[in-house]
Subunit: 359 residues, 2 copies
């Protein structure tokens, strides 16, 4: 018999189960097509151009990134329709953004006058026309201008800048990811989308012609896609899912696991595994075990986790176990590469080229 | 007037204040010398060969690493006395460890028979004699063999392996980092060291000749260094300190900060900064603000944190602020490089070469 694929991997390792990821890509692409909305996946989750290309091949019309550094990596790797779904405030980054815009279509969100002036000035210096979206704060209270009149004010302010062009509005209902009840989540998503669409209406009643409204995430997309006026989904986590989002969106497989090795048995039913905080983040709670739901991590330290097993589960030192991360985006960001597994074999090593490129 | 150094840095960034780090290096080196113990800094905190060399120059007699991947990076960069302060269980890693041992002195900790057999077999294949330490569980309950007879049993087992040589004992009192009361911490440190020294005595009464006892961390070193029989400190965090350890060991400056930019003012006294979970970990609590102790982070998301300021503190969009990480080791592990600042100027960019090399 051949060796188990786990034996070939030094742990801790980030394991990508190819077929499960492909199904996730297809599920979301099909949904977007059937609901007649564009799909612009947020690549902050995987930070990997190889995977971004698979999303485009399945029908996505571009990508979202969080930062200029990520935009640079993806542009270098052939992506030419990139939305920075955040503000770029810092002057050194604005300079890089405008430079990049000369090669690829890079759009950015704005929410303050000073930033709009800075962007216009930098674009003017390089003689480019920079396309921007207004981010509307639909309820998260983090970034964005308030809906309605404040957004209209900003739109008029952008209009006066010769080197900027307003092309759309962005909303992000990120505060709803913890709303477990589906009816309540639908109701609250609709309220958020209403703020975005109403803001568009106010703009259009004042001489604008906005039809590009981008929003959503992996746990609200079903509702926002059906809200009249929303034209684009910018979901990210669906590509891999994780222990946290799976509770709400089980239609997506958990396609990435952290592989660890049991290193010690410090007490009755207690085990030490070599996957700690440098292998899986715990900002959304501790990871859980694939195949062993009754095992519970009790302590995570830098290099190790200590877990307690049920009386039935017996493990040996050297045994390799898979964990489901609780927050896949921050976990992927710890690694340089995915080990890709298909049909019980390791088929590739994919570099996470934009890991750490958040500046 | 010249520009402020902060203006030259794209955020979020990891800023190393050179002089503060140098003072930390000197403080610990002086303490070790005065107390007649060796110093073997744990480089898992900084993962940067340039900094490791400064520790050696100040008198350290070698380094500790957590993983084979780190040992490889430091060995490639000229380090030739490396202790892997953990077990190496996985066969693929044992192979790499033995390979590395042919070039540099790489010692490793052991705590189980199966692992000892695996190490001996791999060393035998390459015809090398591998030096090992027994890790004794002095109270942490994570790795290590129980003190006393179980350790003696393991020592005798090692003796039978022709390609292994037992050279010392390791203890790690990591569970005491959260004991804030200094008297209680001293008492508990002494109890841990007693377990280690007693184990050595049992071994020596049975024909062994152990005098190499390595232990300690940045909050217990003062006590363990004075405990008769302890010959080496393996402190790591002192190099930079952090918000968490500073409460207990304020003799070390907080030498590394995370620089962020204010991006939005979502409400009265509320601000958004572009340093989130991909810029600073929160596994030991949220980071705190340098110079603004009354600012409190309320929410950390991937790319942002939202904080509340005191009524007196006013910030502008675009303003750059420094944060003290709550856990420096996991925070450094997020970055590719330090931006090094001295006398108000950026003097270097130092690569964190062993970042993510935990496999």
């Amino acid at each position: 018999m051949g060796k188990n694929w786990k034996d070939e991997i030094s742990t801790p390792a980030l394991v990508l189960h190819y077929d499960l990821m492909q199904k996730n890509i297809e599920t979301m692409a099909k949904f977007a097509k059937e609901n007649n909305v564009s799909l612009r996946p947020h690549v902050k989750t995987h930070k990997c151009p190889i995977i971004g290309k698979k999303q485009l091949e399945a029908g996505a019309n571009g990508i979202c990134v969080a930062r200029v550094g990520e935009a640079e990596i993806f542009a270098q790797n052939g992506f030419n329709d990139i939305l920075i779904a955040n503000q770029v405030i810092d002057l050194s980054q604005i300079k890089r953004l405008v430079e990049l815009n000369k090669k690829s279509l890079i759009r950015v969100c704005v929410d303050s006058e000073k930033n709009i002036l800075d962007l216009n000035q930098a674009a003017s210096k390089k003689d480019v026309k920079l396309e921007v979206l207004i981010e509307v704060d639909v309820g998260l209270g983090r970034n964005g201008v308030k809906p309605g009149e404040p957004a209209l004010h900003l739109a008029n302010f952008i209009k006066k800048q010769p080197n900027l062009k307003l092309v759309g509005l962005q909303g992000y209902e990120g505060h709803l990811t913890s709303v477990l009840d589906p009816e309540l989540r639908e109701k609250q998503t609709n309220e958020c989308m209403k703020r975005l669409v109403n803001t568009r209406n106010i703009l259009n009643n004042n001489g604008f012609n906005m039809d590009y409204l981008t929003a959503s995430n992996t746990v609200t997309y079903k509702f926002s896609a059906k809200y009249d006026g929303i034209t684009e989904l910018q979901t990210g986590t669906y590509i891999f899912n994780d222990e946290h989002y799976y509770r709400v969106s089980p239609e997506f497989n958990i396609a990435v696991t952290v592989l660890g090795t049991v290193t010690n048995i410090p007490g009755n039913r207690y085990y030490t595994i070599d996957a700690g905080l440098k292998a899986a983040t715990n900002d959304n709670g501790n990871p859980i075990f694939k195949n062993y739901p009754k095992c519970k991590i009790r302590v995570m330290t830098e290099e190790h986790s200590i877990f307690r097993a049920s009386p039935k589960d017996k493990f040996e030192i050297g045994q390799k176990l898979e964990l489901y991360p609780s927050h896949i985006c921050t976990t992927v960001n710890l690694y340089d590469f995915f080990t890709v597994v298909k049909d019980g074999k390791i088929i590739a090593k994919w570099d996470i080229l934009a890991r750490g490129k958040n500046y």
